[in-house]
Every structure is written in C-alpha cells, then in structure tokens.
C-alpha cells in the first residue's frame, strides 16, 4: 500500500532522525570538530590542526591506558565469559534445583556499578577490609596485600570485581544458548558414551559458537566502555597503574579543561573500537564462508 504523498515516509521518520541528530550525530560531529582546536569549554577556540592527535600519539599515559584496558579485557574474557560459560554448563548439566544458583549468580548484574565499587572498596581495604581480615583470620597473613594500592595487583583486583558482576550475565546468555540445543543431539552424545564434560566441550560449546562470538564482542567493547568501576575503586591509580582511556579522558576534559585534546582522545578511542569491530566482522565472515564450504 503506497502512501498518497511521496514525502509522507520522510516526514514520519523526521522526529526520530531529529532526535538522533541532536543526541548522537551532533555530539559526534562536534567532538570531531573540537579535536582540531584548543578550547577550555568557555573561552575562544584556538585552531591547532592535528596537534591534539600528535599529542595523543606521543602521550605515554594515553598509550599506556590502551595497554591497561587491553589487559583488563583479556582478564575479563576469562573472568566473565569463560566463567560464565562454565557456570552455564554447570546449571544445565543438572537443571533441577539450579534455579536458586542461577538467580544468585545473576544478582550482581542487577546492582548499580557504583554500589558494587563501594562494596568492593571495603572488601579490598588493606587495613580493615573483608579480604585481608579473612586471610588473617585463617592464618594466611602472608598473603595479605595492599590490593588497590599496589600496581601489581590493582588491575587484576578491579578485573575480579568485573568478573564477579558480569559472569552471571554471560551465564544467562549461554544458558539460553544451551537450552536451544536440540535434546536429541545431547541424547545421541550420551548414548555414544560421552561424559558430561565431553558433551559440554565437544557438543554444547561448538553448537553455541555464534553466541560465544557475540559474547566476546560484548566483552571487548564493554571493556572499552568501563569507567565507573575504575573511577570509584582507583581513579586510575595507584601511580596510573589502572589508568584506562575513559578515566584519563574524563580527567583531561573535566579536571584539566582541555576539551580539544579530550575530543581527540575520544576520536582515537572510537577509531580503535571501530577497528576491532571491523576485524570481528571480517573474522565472522571468513568463519561463515569456511563453514559453508
């Protein structure tokens, strides 16, 4: 059924397009424009060409922030995705009676991240926090550490918190994936003598491969978006050991009032994430072609 006036569809799309332009496209374009200026947010714009990008490329802390977020993502792939996969496997191996566990694992996902960060700040407190107190109580005082104050442990400590929160999220995703596997496939595997572990790794996991790929993409892109956990727990410390692009960018823009440089950093970060997304799409296409052939 075609509209009477050809302009009608465009008019119907206009409100959404206006909102998208105002809330998304406009700020993106503005950020790109600001990146070529030196600007404190209030005074005059001072054009500097690509100087902000040169500075970003030569800023050792900005480069280090990408290394830190890469390590964080690598750790969270294990602590969130892999652990979530194992948890999903456990709750689907014996479906009866696991409802309580599924809920318990998912509860941290529902907590606001700031609340989680404050909670774990107490857990990690080196003087009277839960972790060190427990270690002392069970006679393992030699294992106590200044968890968030030691550059060796701060980043892994933050990653553990992230795993505690999101393992349940990925468990729920994989659980849904496992539930979609035809029962006769699993039955056939059992009849052939496969154990639960063999069935899990050789039948179930390969059959939800596409779900795992999506989960990995979510984990990687989510890692680049991390901010509140780092801000509350360490704010980039100790000694910049947990400085990631987002915390550094917020400090440059909101504390140092360098909007231009911060915008350039944001553009660089966006390009990095887009590049990763592009690699993912290419790999998926190649995998799909190989599967078909």
């Amino acid at each position: 059924m075609r509209p009477r006036r050809r302009i009608t569809p465009y008019l119907l799309v206009t409100p959404a397009l206006a909102l998208f332009t105002f809330a998304v496209l406009g700020p993106i374009v503005a950020t790109g424009v600001f990146s070529f200026f030196e600007w404190d947010g209030f005074g005059p714009f001072d054009p500097v060409g690509v100087a902000n990008y040169v500075r970003a490329a030569t800023d050792p802390l900005f480069r280090a922030s990408f290394l830190h977020v890469g390590i964080y993502i690598a750790l969270t792939i294990v602590l969130e995705v892999f652990v979530g996969l194992v948890l999903a496997g456990l709750v689907t191996a014996r479906p009866k009676g696991t409802g309580l566990f599924r809920v318990a694992f998912f509860i941290p996902v529902m907590l606001p991240m700031v609340v989680v960060a404050v909670l774990w700040d107490f857990v990690y407190n080196p003087d009277f926090g839960l972790l060190n107190s427990t270690l002392i109580a069970i006679g393992m005082e030699e294992f106590t550490q200044i968890w968030l104050g030691d550059p060796r442990f701060a980043l892994p400590a933050v990653s553990v918190v992230s795993g505690w929160v999101f393992a349940g999220f990925y468990m729920a995703i994989f659980y849904a994936g496992f539930r979609g596997i035809p029962g006769d496939v699993l039955e056939a595997a059992r009849i052939d003598g496969a154990s639960e572990i063999q069935t899990f790794w050789r039948v179930k996991v390969p059959m939800i491969r596409h779900v795992i790929e999506i989960a990995l993409l979510l984990c990687i892109t989510g890692g680049f978006q991390a901010f509140d956990l780092f801000y509350v727990l360490t704010n980039g410390g100790p000694f910049n050991a947990t400085e990631i692009p987002t915390t550094y960018l917020v400090r440059v823009v909101f504390r140092n009032q360098e909007i231009g440089y911060g915008s350039a950093m944001a553009v660089v970060m966006t390009l990095v994430v887009l590049a990763i997304g592009g690699v993912y799409v290419r790999l998926r296409r190649r995998t799909a072609v190989e599967t078909v052939s």
Binding site: R5, P15, A18, L19, G149, F239
Partner: protein, 437 residues
C-alpha cells in the same frame, strides 16, 4: 480508506523539532541576561521581583540548613526577592561546575570561591565585582581586617570572607603519645625519632589516605615550601622553575625519608582521606596530617578521642619555619550580576553574628567575628584560626592556589616517592615531562 498521514506527519515532525529547539530558545534568552539584565519574571527595578542566585559546593546538610534559614529570613525582609541556592558536588564545583554556571544563562549572583590564584582567574575573566564600598560599611564591620587577606586585588576588596582553613597540621592522639612516652616534635629529626618510637610500640605513627593524591600532596607541598622557601615554591608552582630542579628534588628527598623509615601507613595510596582518618579515629594511628576541618568531624565520629595538634616541625631549609599551609575562602559578587546591591545585602545578613553563630553550631568554621564571641567554641578551632592569623607566612595549597595540572603533576610525584616506586629524581623528572608535553 484514504491515506491522510501527510498533514499529520508534517504537524508531528514540526511539533517535535520546535519542541526540541524550545529549550535552546530559552537558553538564548537567558544568555542575554548579562546584557539586558532581564529574564522571564525578573527585573531590576525596585519593588519588582528579583531572583538572587547563589552557588557553592555542598557544605553538608547541617550548613545547608543554615543557608535555608538565611534564605527564609532574607525573603521575609525582602518580599520581592526570591533566593535560589545551588549546591553542587565539591569536586564538580571546583573543576568544571562553577565555570559552567558563570558562563551559563542563569549565572549566580553570588558564588563561593577560593582566595588566591582561582580568585585572580575569576577577576581576570570579569566575574568579580568591587565590593570595597560595602566592606567600608556594615558588611566589613563583621570581620577583622586580617580576614580580608588575599581578597584584595588592584586595591579593591573583591571577596566576602567565609572560612579560613589550615590545610594540613599534624593531629595527634595525646593518649598514645603519653603511653609511648614521647612529646610533640619541634624539628624534622624529632618527628622521625618520635615516629620510630611509636612504630616500635606497634602503632602506626602517621596515617593518611592518599587515593585522591591531595592529602599527602598538601602535606608534602608544605614540606617542600619549608625546604626551598616560599618564593621558590611559588615560582615552582607557576613553572618559573621546573619541578625537576635540584632544590625541588632535594625537598622530595624528605618525602623519601618518610618512605624509607616506614612511618606512614602502608595503605597510604590505596585508601581515601576518610579511611585514613578512620585509622586515627579508631586509635590505630598516632598522627594524622590533615586540615582544620578534622575537629568537627572528630567530635562527631570519635567524641572520646583525646587529640591535639602541632604544626609541621622545623625543617632544614630556606623557608619560613613557622609557615602555615592554608586557604581562605569566601563569596564573590558576580560583576555581571544585575542585583549587586541585593547580593551585598544578603551577604551582610549571612555574615551577621546571628547566622555566623548558626554556622558554628552546624560545624562550620566561619571567620566572621561573631564566631569568636562564643565561649562554647572548641579551643582547637580557635587555635586553628590563631595559627592562621599569626603565621609569618601563608603557603597556598597547590590545588586551590595554582594551576591544577601543575598541582596534579606535583601530587603524583610526591605519591610515587612516598609509595617507594620512584626516587625523587625520577618522580620529579616524570612530573616535569608531563607538564612539558
């Protein structure tokens, strides 16, 4: 069924776009306030409705209550005036919040600011009114002359004093000192010796939480000024001499001594200022170097704690050895305000003994004379004021008296040295390299 979506779609599209732009229109009108003096619902004519806007970082619930009382009293005396109070998060206000407000459509008529470099910046940007005439009148009668130190620019009074805080002194647990058998140190060497004695008794000598870098930063910056002298400190903070100059490196060497002696809590860089204070409140630490605001806090959280203070002991160096690190704060009348007279009247009311006394009750430390006409004020609060007023030299803290980037670089260097992850030379070089970028 005939299609009649075209006109409806057009109306919907136009309606949504106009609606989205409506706020921009109002903002544009608001930004004209500074030139026309008018916004919707207010004019400057006597008897016409006036909206008086006041902005500050949040002073806490109890002091907010005092502001609300002042607002109510002022509105009762001036029925045509409506007072709007804007309390922002402290960190937000100090960084981008205030500037956003001042450059926005509904800029405050009165705003909180720190004396020193920040006040000078606001003056240079045109946001500071001359209130000399008011200070010569009733408003000035509520303050001692010394209260206006640091609040005069180009021979003009530009700020109504609010608080004066000593940024860092050593608060010490008198019972721990007595039980260990040590007395208040008067020199750097004595401080190290006293701390070692306390450490041998199994108590943390000095506890402080430096996750946000400023607690140790302020303390050790005072040490730096004592070693290199106030003038060189000022030059360093203005980058007239680099952070990695030999004299600054030498000063950071004393921070290294603290680290090597192991007399500061191991968790120093992992916990924030609140957690550091808790170690002191719970009697786990003998000393806690922090500002004058600790008094009201300790009275509330640790009423049984027996504590007193001493200023940073004398250090080997070129600085004035009884200097105090501190900051004065106050309220500025916006030069762009169309209601300066009304603003001055409000600040006169708020600075009166009645409201000054209420602020003291609410845990504040105002420097209006009404605060000291009471005999129920904690002697340690009075001592802080006397310390400030009697100081031979007043050192400005890096993060309120100078450029934030320089302050952050210095704070980071001091944290690295105290944390034992860098030598003074390395930390200072890294800090200067950061600034040279």
């Amino acid at each position: 069924m005939k299609q009649r979506h075209g006109p409806l779609a057009l109306l919907l599209a136009l309606g949504l776009i106009v609606g989205a732009c409506a706020d921009d229109g109002a903002t544009d009108q608001g930004s004209d306030t500074t030139s026309s003096g008018d916004t919707t619902g207010e004019t400057t004519d006597a008897g016409e409705d006036v909206v008086l806007r006041i902005a500050m970082g949040s002073p806490g619930e109890e002091q907010i209550g005092v502001w609300e009382q002042a607002k109510a009293a002022f509105e009762e005396e001036n029925p045509n005036v409506s007072v709007e109070l804007n309390f922002q998060d402290d960190d937000l206000y100090q960084t981008i919040g205030l500037l956003n407000l001042l450059n926005g459509g509904e800029a405050p008529d009165i705003y909180f600011e720190w004396a020193g470099a920040r006040l000078q910046s606001r003056y240079d940007e045109g946001f500071v009114a001359d209130i000399t005439e008011a200070v010569d009148g009733e408003l000035g009668s509520y303050f001692d002359e010394g209260a206006f130190n640091g609040m005069v620019i180009d021979e003009k009074n530009v700020m109504v004093p609010a608080n004066a805080d000593v940024t860092t002194v050593f608060w010490y647990n008198t019972e721990i000192f007595d039980s260990v058998g040590v007395s208040v140190p008067t020199t750097w060497e004595e401080l190290i010796d006293v701390s070692n004695s306390i450490k041998e008794a199994g108590i943390i000598p000095i506890a402080i939480g430096n996750k946000d870098l400023w607690p140790v930063g302020n303390w050790t910056s005072h040490m730096v000024s004592r070693v290199i002298g106030e003038e060189a400190y000022d030059q360093m903070m203005r980058q007239e001499i680099p952070l990695d100059s030999p004299e600054v490196v030498e000063a950071l060497g004393y921070v290294q001594q603290l680290a090597e002696a192991g007399i500061v809590n191991e968790s120093v860089n992992a916990i924030d200022d609140n957690e550091g204070a808790q170690l002191f409140f719970q009697g786990q630490a003998a000393m806690h170097p922090i500002g004058s605001w600790l008094v009201s806090w300790a009275l509330e959280e640790a009423p049984d704690l027996s504590f007193d203070y001493f200023n940073l002991p004398e250090m080997p160096g070129a600085g004035t050895q009884d200097s105090v690190i501190g900051v004065s704060t106050g309220f500025v009348i916006n030069e762009n305000s169309e209601h300066k007279d009304v603003a001055i009247d409000f600040m006169t009311l708020f600075s009166s003994p009645e409201f000054t006394s209420l602020m003291v009750d609410a845990g504040g430390t105002p420097i209006a004379t009404g605060a000291f006409d009471r005999d129920d004020i904690d002697p340690r609060v009075t001592a802080m004021m006397e310390l400030l007023q009697g100081a031979s030299a007043l050192v400005a803290p890096p993060d309120t008296g100078y450029d934030l980037e320089v302050a952050d670089a210095l704070y980071a260097a001091q944290a690295e040295v105290l944390g034992g992850v860098a030598t003074p030379e390395e930390a200072a070089a890294a800090a200067q390299a950061k600034l040279d970028q």
